[in-house]
């Protein structure tokens, strides 16, 4: 261990820092660590829902904001204004002047789904692995994390979720449902205010 660290330090001295980081293998561990560094972030999103029954996708767009460890807000601006707020175990949806509160503990499918995004944003591997099998492909500059539900009941709803990103930033979240419908959300991180 010490020898290895020494070796690493040695090579770090020999080469530039970026090269050293690139040299280290890109692992789930490192991805999660990197993601966990993010304390808060804001982003715009465009979400395309492709339903087999529809001729063309439905598009929604708006803003996302995340504050570690568990607060997530999705503010849709188009086609209809709507605010989805996740805090702890409570999911609040404000739409058309009405507010609906959902307790995640009573809706395990919704919870699993929400947890996939929140867990990824928070870099909470443990939380993710209670519900999904994780597999990572690509490099730090361009990675794809695939989440496959462990539970058969959940797989009947969501076949898999693929999250693509670069470093500690997410760029695309793709959710594939078992019935063939899917949703593709492109995320553009906004600079910290």
């Amino acid at each position: 261990m010490t020898r290895r660290v020494k070796n690493l330090l040695g090579s770090a001295l020999a080469a530039c820092a970026l090269a050293a980081a690139a040299a280290e293998p890109w692992t789930l561990e490192r991805l999660m660590q990197g993601l966990a560094q993010t304390r808060s972030a804001r982003a715009t999103f465009v979400e395309k829902k492709t339903l087999r029954i529809l001729e063309r996708p439905l598009v929604a767009s708006g803003e996302l904001s995340f504050t570690a460890p568990g607060k997530l807000e999705k503010r849709t601006l188009r086609p209809k204004p709507e605010l989805l707020r996740l805090e702890g175990e409570t999911l609040t949806l404000e739409r058309a002047g009405r507010s609906t509160v959902l307790d995640l503990r009573s809706h395990p499918e919704v919870a699993a789904f929400v947890e996939s995004i929140r867990g990824t944003l928070a870099g909470d591997r443990k939380a993710l692995e209670t519900v999904y099998r994780l597999s990572l492909e690509g490099s730090e500059a361009s990675w794809v994390l695939t989440l496959t539900p462990l539970e058969q009941a959940m797989r009947a709803l969501v076949e898999r979720i693929r999250i693509a990103g670069r470093g500690a930033d997410l760029s695309v979240i793709e959710i594939r449902q078992a019935n063939g419908d899917s949703s593709l959300m492109s995320v553009q991180r906004l600079p910290a205010p």
């Binding site: 999705k74 949806l93 009573s106």
Partner: protein, 777 residues
């Protein structure tokens, strides 16, 4: 025993057998019905029905505490599963999604009859375009789950609308681990409805036992139940236990007293004979008169011990032991029975006034006492003299009596002191008159305040309605009632929009009137027209009309389907809601007060009534009604007590053939009641109905004392033997009611305290006031 004893003995045995038979077959209850009026106003009737037969009365609230959250969740699931399979429960909910699958199915199946959005406009080309556009927007958003899954069948989004309406209809419990939990997360909560009525205490007891058996043994976790039925079972247990404990304790103490003076087992048995006969006859009379015996009535059994044993004591102590047995009782009957008879009559008159009470609890108590006292007196008069052993050697208590006689020779100054005390009591009672009486029924409730508070907590946890505010609509039949409920719903909607109401429930939400259903179905076009309109409406939409075959088929099926009926909803949460909201000839629409904002937790009756103007509906605040009902009881009981007192005064005046003499008998009684009331008030007691009954009892018991003094003084000096018998009678009263005062039940305690204190004051008071006549001589 002589041959002449055979007839009374035979009559007594026959009466006893009949009474025992009736009492054994009687129905005993301990639910709230004992506190509900016999001839209620319409509003009270509603209150009664809700508690007795309605879903409110069948509601059982369950809480699992202890252990950890995971274990509580597992227990909740296990318990709910077991109870759902139990026929004694009509409905069990613990928040599990599985529990609402049938409701979802019903909403989907009947969506075109249930959805308020369905109208002619909705199925025109423009209406379809707007509705489907909205659904697509919803799917594009984050809340599109249901809408997306059902797009092909339900493109206009009726189900999503109905589900969100259901979610609005009540505040929803918190969740932990997928089941309902308290807000603070320390307990899992469940809601169950028994199949049996809330008033059927036996069935409720079986249901409580079933819940406990289903829960079984859970290490570290405990189960707690509340609700009207549970409370009825608990109070019956409590009252049964108390009646038993007090009865045994009172009997043992009185028996010890009897043994001490009569010194023989035979005398003891004879002394208890009138008491036991009276108790049995009293219960039988109530069973015959009311059809059901309320537990509280049995609790008053102890009162009878204190009163009925006196008759035997008078016989034992007053009868002259120097004479032979037959001669002795004959002399006693001639000498003393008239005074005792008058005392019995005054007691009966006092209690008879209660018979006219609209409050069944009081009326039962009145009948029980009248029958019991009459039976005890008859046994003493006609049976005991025959059974009295020849060599009954009663302890000579003359010395005790002689010492007591001092009081009746006391200086007149003492009387003035007592009168001053009474005057002080009057001033105290008058100045404190506003806080003198309990304002609600809670004082009469045998359930502890802690349990009631816990029940309130669980209700808040579960978002269970407290049904305080109700709108009631009445109509001739079910359809007219539903139509009226729909009309009222339309009138109430603006109040919800304005924030004056958080919401309301209506039976028409679950079962629209036939007319409304027909109108909604009439708005559905036939398959060909629908296809054509869809094609036109969906021009340029990502959704193609060809994809909506399932929708067209569902609409066609809805057009053919028979109307939704009450029986279709049976066994579901909707059926249950309907059962509690749609009653024969009327519908109830519970209103919910806003939980926040300027009108938080209050509903302005004027505003609701204004909104209801022009409809046939009435607005009710049930808490206000219940409080009004209670103060009605109180006023009535007060009037009846005064009437009883007047009847006693009249009886005395007639029998004693002198108003002045009657007044002299009554004076110490009035003074006793005033001083007792003053002392209780000074000690911080808040009076309820039972204190009032206690005052009446003081008059009934005290009149015996005063009558004896009257009789004795008419013949000169009071005899030590008679005084001793009065002292003993007083002691038994103190024992009987003192035992009652030790009860954990508030009602019994109030009565026991009042009467024992009153009895303590009544005897010396009667003696002091008799002294006036001694002076006058």
């Amino acid at each position: 025993m002589t041959r002449r004893a055979l007839l009374p003995l035979a009559v007594w045995l026959a009466a006893l057998a009949a009474a025992a038979g009736i009492a054994a077959g009687a129905r005993y209850t301990a639910d709230l019905s004992g506190f509900l009026p016999r001839s209620p106003s319409p509003a009270q009737q509603l209150l009664v029905e809700q508690l007795r037969d309605g879903a409110v009365g069948r509601m059982m609230l369950l809480a699992i505490e202890g252990a950890d959250a995971g274990a509580r969740t597992a227990h909740s699931r296990r318990l709910a599963k077991a109870l759902r399979a139990d026929a004694r429960f009509a409905y069990v909910a613990n928040g599990e999604a599985a529990g609402s699958a049938r409701e979802r199915e019903l909403l989907l199946e009947h969506r075109y009859r249930l959805s308020p959005a369905v109208g002619a406009q909705r199925f025109t080309e423009a209406g379809l375009r707007a509705a489907i556009g909205e659904t697509l927007d919803l799917i594009a958003s984050s809340a599109g789950g249901i809408a997306q899954a059902l797009l092909a069948r339900d493109p206009t989004g009726e189900l999503a609308r109905l589900v969100s309406l259901q979610m609005e209809s009540g505040s929803r419990p918190s969740m932990a681990g997928g089941v309902w939990a308290s807000r603070d997360g320390t307990r899992a909560v469940l809601l169950a409805l028994t199949a049996a009525d809330g008033a059927d205490t036996d069935a409720q007891e079986a249901a409580v036992a079933a819940v406990q058996a289903a829960f079984g043994e859970a290490p570290g976790a405990s189960l707690r139940l509340t609700g009207p039925g549970v409370f009825a079972v608990e109070s019956r247990e409590l009252i049964r236990g108390e009646a038993m404990r007090l009865g045994v304790l009172g009997t043992v103490l009185v028996a010890a007293l009897l043994l001490a003076i009569a010194r023989s087992a035979a005398a003891l048995a004879l002394g208890l004979l009138p008491v036991l006969t009276g108790a049995l006859v009293g219960v039988a009379a109530v069973a015959l008169g009311f059809g059901v015996v309320h537990g509280i009535t049995l609790g008053f059994g102890a009162t009878l011990i204190g009163e009925a044993v006196d008759y035997a004591i008078y016989l034992f102590v007053q009868a002259d032991a120097r004479r032979a047995a037959p001669e002795r009782t004959r002399a006693w009957l001639a000498e003393f029975w008239p005074a005792i008879r008058l005392g019995v009559l005054t007691s009966i008159l006092g209690f008879a006034a209660l018979l006219f009470s609209g409050f069944p609890g009081l009326a039962q108590l009145g009948l029980y006492s009248v029958a019991g006292i009459a039976a005890a007196a008859l046994v003493t008069r006609f049976l005991l003299p025959h059974l009295l052993p020849a060599q009954l050697r009663v302890r000579d208590l003359s010395a005790l009596g002689a010492r007591f006689a001092v009081l009746s020779r006391a200086h007149p100054g003492w009387r003035w002191l007592v009168l001053a005390l009474a005057a002080g009591a009057v001033i105290l009672l008058y100045t404190g008159r506003d806080g003198l009486w309990a304002r609600d029924m809670s004082a009469l409730n045998p359930i502890s305040e802690e349990s009631q508070t816990y029940d309130g907590l669980l209700r808040a946890d579960l978002g269970a309605p407290d049904t305080r505010y109700l709108v009631v609509v009445r109509a001739a039949d079910e359809q007219a009632t539903l139509s009226a409920a729909e009309e009222v719903s339309r009138a109430l909607e603006p109040l919800v929009a304005a924030g004056a109401l958080a919401g309301f429930d209506s039976p028409s939400r679950y079962l629209p009137s036939r007319a409304t259903q027909v109108a909604r179905i009439a708005a559905l076009p036939d398959a060909a027209a629908l296809r054509q309109r869809l094609r036109a409406a969906l021009q340029g939409s990502p959704l193609r009309a060809e994809r909506l075959d399932a929708f067209v088929q569902d609409v066609a099926r809805a057009r053919r389907a028979p109307p939704l009926e009450r029986k279709d909803l049976a066994g579901s949460a909707f059926g249950l809601a309907l059962d509690s909201l749609l009653l024969p000839g009327k519908a109830l629409l519970p209103l919910r007060a806003p939980a926040s904002g300027p009108n938080a937790y209050t509903i302005d009756p004027a505003r609701v009534r204004a909104a209801l103007a022009g409809t046939s509906a009435t607005f009710l605040d049930l808490k206000a009604e219940a409080d009004a009902m209670y103060s009605g009881y109180l006023r009535e009981a007060l009037a009846l007590s005064l009437a009883g007192f007047a009847a006693i005064a009249l009886l005395l005046a007639v029998v004693l053939r002198s108003a002045a003499r009657a007044a002299r008998v009554l004076a110490p009684l009035v003074v006793t009641v005033l001083v007792t009331a003053g002392l209780l008030a000074a000690a911080g007691q808040v009076f309820n109905l039972l204190h009032l009954v206690g005052f009446l009892l003081i008059v009934a018991i005290g009149s015996n004392y005063a009558l004896f003094f009257d009789r004795e003084l008419a013949q000169g000096e009071p005899s030590p033997r008679v005084l001793a018998s009065l002292l003993l009678a007083n002691l038994t009263t103190l024992v009987g009611f003192g035992v009652l005062a030790s009860s954990s039940l508030g009602v019994l305690r109030s009565l026991g305290l009042t009467v024992s204190l009153g009895a303590l004051i009544a005897l010396p008071c009667a003696a002091l006031f008799s002294a006036r006549r001694a002076d006058g001589r």
